[in-house]
């Protein structure tokens, strides 16, 4: 049986240079897993709509990363959105632990990598996105 390698979608602030895996040496497990980074002009642009679409399209985990906001409130706005989205995921029966917001500032590539590592580890334990399992069962 093929080993489960999670797909992680990372929504990251384009102004926080740390939110890129290239900023630090990627770990082995990160190479195996699929990491796709979607850059946002501000973390405050993130909405439940984007996160749900990522899960709907097969993401096993979603990471939202950004730090000290040049637009002042981006991180705070994103925090509320992510909290709300976790509730929506729970309502659907999708583990909210698959979604995480991590504060990362400029030149903190290592922090970003550690967050990706952490979520990959967690999702490996949880297994694939329940939607994919439901698809296979049907």
């Amino acid at each position: 049986m093929k080993k489960f390698e999670p797909t992680v979608i990372a929504f990251s602030c384009m102004f926080c240079a740390g939110c890129e895996p290239v900023a630090a040496k990627p770990e082995k497990s990160m190479k195996a897993a699929q990491l796709k980074v979607i850059r946002l002009h501000c973390l405050g642009k993130i909405n439940s709509m984007h996160v749900l679409k990522a899960f709907e399209n097969g993401a096993d985990a979603v990471l939202v990363a950004g730090g000290a906001c040049r637009f002042m409130e981006g991180l705070a706005v994103a925090q509320k959105q992510i909290e709300y989205t976790r509730k929506l995921l729970e309502e659907l029966g999708i583990e909210p632990q698959r979604l995480e917001l991590v504060p990362v500032n400029q030149a903190e590539g290592k922090t970003f990598n550690e967050a990706v590592e952490g979520i990959i580890k967690r999702v490996r334990a949880l297994g694939p996105n329940p939607l994919m399992k439901a698809k296979k069962a049907a």
């Binding site: 439940s48 709509m49 749900l52 679409k53 899960f55 309502e91 659907l92 939607l131 049907a138």
Partner: protein, 222 residues
């Protein structure tokens, strides 16, 4: 504006059980402003519904999305007529008015609500709405300094305050302001404290018939 709140996905899912082609119709007016049924919320509901059905039965269903400017005016609905009739059911995220209007318009296609209509209110700042008007049909705001006793007072008293007022709070709910204390303070600021002595006759609720209809003679078409 009309304030609404999204329905839980289980309830929505049940209402469209067995349907394979569903359209979610949003409204770009009040419910969009209160983040319950505009374009963004339509997209969220569509994703949630597709996922909920798939998780439940492994079935893929088609959920399309549209948002019209207003669902309570025929001219805004008509352009979507043909498109809407291609679906087995329509979930309207408009207020109760929009849902009914759309159901009347479509006739033989089921239209179900995607939100619960809560009240007529104002935006109190980010993410908070507060009820301001009960649409009683006989406005007294001119006498009460712009504060509605029918809405804000828990007992809807036209002549207050009652004996339950306590340091500006209401005996029904200590977290709520006493409407008549607010009215007194506002009238004082306006230099119109004499208004507090006016006795309002009981409201003639009997004169209010439902459903109400209003005709503006200048615009009525024969």
């Amino acid at each position: 504006m009309i304030v609404a709140q999204r329905k839980g996905i289980e309830e929505v899912k049940k209402m469209v059980e067995g349907k394979s082609r569903i359209l979610i119709a949003g409204c770009g007016t009040c419910v969009a402003v209160c983040m319950a049924g505009g374009e963004r919320e339509v997209s969220i509901l569509a994703s949630m519904l597709r996922m909920a059905v798939k998780l439940d039965s492994g079935r893929d269903i088609e959920v399309a999305e549209i948002t019209m400017e207003r669902q309570c005016d025929r001219e805004f609905i008509e352009p979507f007529d043909k498109q809407m009739r291609e679906y087995d059911a329509v979930i309207s995220t408009a207020c109760g008015i929009g849902v009914q209007f759309l159901a009347d318009f479509l006739g033989d296609i089921p239209v179900v609500p995607g939100v619960n209509t809560k009240f007529l209110g104002s935006n109190e700042g980010g993410g908070t709405w507060f009820e301001r008007c009960r649409a009683c049909g006989e406005c007294v705001l001119g006498e009460t300094g712009g504060i509605c006793p029918i809405t804000i007072c828990a007992k809807n008293l036209l002549n207050g305050p009652c004996g339950g007022t306590n340091k500006g709070k209401c005996e029904v709910d200590k977290d709520k302001d006493c409407a008549w204390t607010l009215i007194y303070q506002r009238l004082e600021k306006l230099g119109a404290l004499d208004n507090i002595r006016k006795i309002f006759p009981p409201k003639n609720y009997h004169a209010q018939t439902h459903p109400s209809r209003m005709i503006h003679e200048a615009y009525k078409k024969d």
